[in-house]
């Protein structure tokens, strides 16, 4: 330990003691204590910092090997071009692979808790809904998920899930771009983009294996082969979903649903010639319908295969071309088993295909201008959307069974096209202007233009100011505009596409050992699409808001290396979301945030704790049993090297087993859904160069 660190050991100990004493007394002190504690912790740490800066400040990269350094993602791209993070024309949160262990996360949606402005909500089936800047949805259809530049979504719901189905072990980097990015990434990049980059090829042939175990009979294994032209990855996880047996169903009674589930993934990519990458990504998941009522058990089986090819050639000065093409087979089956007889009660298929291609050209002109021009095509097609209901929880077994298609057009097929352009102009070295425009032709919904402009001003090496304006569009998914209502005679109108207009102001400041980023945003959304009960209350359908919905707020991230071995990260967001009449939108928390403290107590070992906070989430139901109160949870984790290339991660998620209830954002009569219980887990990872 350094001399400097030893002098401040008592102060560090006092801070940690106060933190752990608070945490150990549970969350009963509520949100006020959280605010007071975090503010006093930060203030005390900062007071120490002025003297502690004299320390030798070794960076976290100093202990990395040369090979590890060559595999680091150093640059990101919110404008499709590599650029340093603070100059990207948007609010971008970037997480590298080393951040997964530093923050103790095992799933992508756990990582999203570190992005201010994102709220997570447990859906009644299995996935967690991701709400970016107050954009309510039960399925993650207001965001776009890209994996290596290829769009991924479940076609019927327009949904994607970022839980255990998405192994982190094959991921190199995750970037979250908040706000409408439609001009670059197309329709539905409405609330933002989650861009995942898989592991890059390795200069040396490498084998990596990991094994993970934990509570709820969790057992997971992964294997990765990687060399400079070929990569193959496999992952399998089996467990009981980490939810309590006494959880309430979405109609308020008990649920007897078995919790066993499994997830499998096979992924391969190859680069047979320079610039060309071919990949295949196969998923097979079996998950429970967590909050089904006690009259039946329900299960969701999903199987997807995505084949893609990407080609890149040239450079900016002489002209650069990027092209990709993909085809996805997207199959899902949901079925229910009647509880007493164990007979099939219901089944539905959600089989579809999605395909697309994007070609983008880049060229630097006159040193200070970079132009990008592109075209995009996307095809979606329903293959099998049949359902059959044999049992109804109120009416018993049906004779004859109810059969049909989930969609009013069972053979729907859409081809959508777009052209887009982007211009980046370095006006002066400190000032950069990005302008983007996109014109979409939607086969079902017509033609729409969208625009985006960003000014990024960096007066010196420490500061960045960003001003952003953008528009975006989201067309309804198959389920939203073609949903059959078998239980109701209501004839639902087809919803219009929803449109967003967004204004952002961001500021970033970089010190030697700390950084601060603050973003203010104001979003106005016309024709917001949301789910609501039919007038007769017998079914649900999708409709547009009659007035614009307004979401505005502030997001901030403060990162601070307080001492050589002590890092703090505070993220916080304030959201004010209203409907067009000025009424507060339900289900959303005003304040959310978390505080992460990581302490490297040995050159090869570190310990971390994250405290998460959320305001209460007002529910429009008046059920006494519901309880979407404010909450505080804590996660504790550690990681490090055991010997050589053998490393470990251990952790406890929801350390004090806090019970948290999320409102069902259905604008109807569903009860709250309870979040997962405490999980204790451990992982060993081994890396080998044959």
């Amino acid at each position: 330990m350094t001399q400097t660190y030893c002098c401040y050991q008592p102060i560090v100990n006092a801070m940690l003691f106060r933190l752990f004493r608070f945490v150990s007394s549970g969350h009963k002190r509520g949100s006020r204590s959280f605010g007071l504690l975090s503010s006093s912790l930060i203030s005390a740490c900062l007071a120490v910092n002025s003297a502690a800066e004299a320390g030798n400040g070794k960076s976290e990269f100093a202990n990395m090997s040369l090979q590890e350094l060559t595999e680091l993602e150093v640059f990101d791209a919110a404008s499709l071009l590599p650029t340093k993070p603070n100059k990207a024309p948007g609010t971008v949160y970037s997480f590298q692979r080393e951040d997964f262990s530093r923050l103790g996360v095992r799933r992508l949606d756990d990582l999203l808790a570190y992005v201010p402005g994102i709220q997570l909500n447990q859906y009644r089936k299995r996935h967690r809904s991701i709400w970016a800047r107050g954009q309510l949805n039960r399925f993650n259809d207001k965001l776009v998920l890209m994996v290596d530049g290829i769009r991924r979504q479940h076609v019927y719901y327009g949904n994607f899930s970022l839980g255990d189905n998405f192994p982190l072990e094959k991921i190199e980097k995750v970037e979250i771009i908040m706000g409408p990015a439609s001009t670059l990434y197309g329709a539905n990049a409405f609330g933002g983009i989650i861009s995942v980059t898989t592991r890059d090829f390795s200069e040396q042939t490498t084998l990596e294996a990991s094994g993970e175990g934990g509570s709820n009979a969790r057992a997971k294994g992964t294997l990765l082969f990687n060399d400079n032209h070929l990569q193959a990855f496999g992952s399998y996880l089996g467990q009981d979903a980490p939810f309590r047996g006494d959880r309430k169903s979405f109609i308020g009674g008990e649920s007897l649903q078995p919790l066993d589930e499994d997830y499998g993934n096979l992924f391969a990519k190859a680069s047979p010639i320079d610039g060309l990458t071919l990949s295949a990504d196969y998923y097979h998941n079996n998950t429970p319908f967590l909050f089904i009522p006690n009259t039946q058990d329900a299960f969701i089986n999903e199987e997807t295969l995505t084949l893609s090819g990407q080609y890149e050639t040239g450079d900016l000065d002489n002209g650069k071309l990027q092209a990709n093409v993909y085809y996805t087979w997207d199959n899902a089956r949901e079925h229910e088993i009647e509880q007493l007889t164990r007979r099939l009660g219901y089944q539905e298929n959600q089989n579809a295909v999605m395909a697309g291609s994007t070609v983008t050209g880049f060229k630097r002109l006159w040193d200070d201008h970079v132009l990008a021009l592109g075209v995009n095509w996307m095809h979606t097609e329903a293959i099998n959307m049949d359902y059959a209901r044999y049992f109804h929880f109120r009416r018993g077994f049906l004779n004859p069974p109810l059969q049909g298609s989930l969609l009013s057009d069972p053979e729907v097929s859409n081809d959508d096209f777009a052209v887009f352009a982007q211009h980046i102009w370095s006006i002066v070295p400190e000032l950069e202007l990005t302008l983007g425009a996109r014109y979409d032709h939607f086969e079902q919904f017509g033609d729409y233009p969208d625009y985006r402009g960003a000014l990024v001003y960096s007066p010196d090496e420490r500061q960045t100011v960003k001003l952003l304006y953008g528009t975006g569009i989201r067309t309804p998914t198959f389920r939203e505009y073609l949903k059959v209502l078998p239980n109701s005679d209501f004839n639902a109108p087809i919803p219009d596409p929803e449109r967003i207009e967004s204004l952002e102001l961001g500021y970033g400041y970089q010190w030697e050992h700390a950084s601060l980023n603050v973003t203010l945003f104001n979003n106005e959304i016309d024709d917001y699409i949301y789910q609501t009960p039919t007038p007769d209350g017998k079914d649900v359908y999708f409709t547009n808001s009659r007035t614009p919905w307004e979401m505005r707020g502030v997001e901030t991230v403060v990162q601070w290396q307080a001492l050589d071995d002590l890092e703090l990260r505070l993220s916080a967001a304030l959201l004010d979301a209203k409907d067009g009449k000025g009424g507060k939108l339900p289900y959303l928390a005003n304040w959310t945030g978390n505080l992460n403290v990581t302490y490297r107590y040995h050159a090869d070992h570190r310990l971390g704790v994250t405290i998460n906070y959320s305001d209460s989430r007002p529910d429009r139901n008046a059920y006494v049993a519901d309880d979407p109160r404010a909450f505080i949870t804590a996660n504790l984790f550690g990681s490090g090297k055991i010997i050589g290339d053998l490393s470990y991660m251990v952790g406890v998620d929801n350390l004090f087993d806090t019970r948290i209830y999320d409102p069902a954002a259905d604008f109807g009569s569903d009860y709250n859904t309870e979040r997962s219980a405490r999980e204790i887990w451990g992982r060993l990872s081994w890396r080998f160069n044959p």
């Binding site: 503010s39 006093s40 800066e53 990395m64 680091l72 040396q204 050992h513 007002p618 529910d619």
Partner: protein, 207 residues
């Protein structure tokens, strides 16, 4: 199921909230943090970004795999002198290499204003912005064991003449890599480990 009477279409249920005190506490914490940070007396002249830290780590790791002839040092305890040519755009990240151990010697860092001042240096780090000046000063053939490293990571295109540059830090898409001109390394009397060469792109003379 028991319902509470409601008089409005929907009524938010909120429990245990002290919004004013909580918001004020958090705002105070953030404000204090910002004020402390803004008026801290120990700000350095240059930012220490992640990119610069990675570059510094590359430099340190590279020089650990290079061997200098014994006559390059005045005595066995002499430090390994890393000289920054004319400027240090990497800020504190590069300065923090001071005292690190490489090849059984402690690294010492200093900035020199001209090539003539590099007589005692074992490593010369040149920023891309200084390449033009370096090209006018450097002799055509490398005559002594001075490891020259050029930072070209800000360039998309690396097909340029790099006289007397043995190692170039380059950008590879979103990552960093490095290129080695083995001919120049050998002419300078330096030896490199195969562990270093395995991870490098080997370039020809003239590059």
């Amino acid at each position: 199921m028991r319902l509470k009477d409601t008089t409005s279409q929907w009524r938010p249920r909120v429990a245990g909230v002290l919004p004013a005190a909580r918001a004020a506490a958090l705002a105070c914490g953030l404000t204090v943090s910002i004020l402390f940070g803004l008026f801290s007396p120990h700000l350095s002249d240059a930012a220490d970004s992640r990119v610069d830290q990675v570059k510094a780590a590359f430099v340190l790791n590279i020089i650990r795999f290079v061997a200098w002839p014994a006559e390059s040092f005045r005595d066995p305890a002499a430090p390994l002198l890393l000289c920054l040519y004319r400027s240090n755009p990497h800020g504190r990240a590069m300065l923090e290499l001071e005292g690190q151990i490489a090849s059984d010697r402690a690294v010492s860092v200093r900035t020199i204003s001209a090539l003539a001042d590099s007589q005692n240096c074992q490593i010369l780090l040149i920023d891309d912005s200084e390449l033009a000046e370096y090209s006018t000063e450097t002799p055509i053939q490398a005559a002594r064991p001075l490891l020259t490293i050029l930072d070209m990571t800000e360039r998309e295109q690396t097909e340029i003449t790099r006289p007397n540059v043995m190692i170039s830090l380059v950008r590879k898409a979103t990552r960093m890599g490095f290129e080695i001109n083995l001919d120049k390394v050998r002419q300078a009397g330096l030896r490199m480990s195969s562990e270093l060469l395995k991870l490098a792109t080997i370039v020809e003379n003239g590059g």
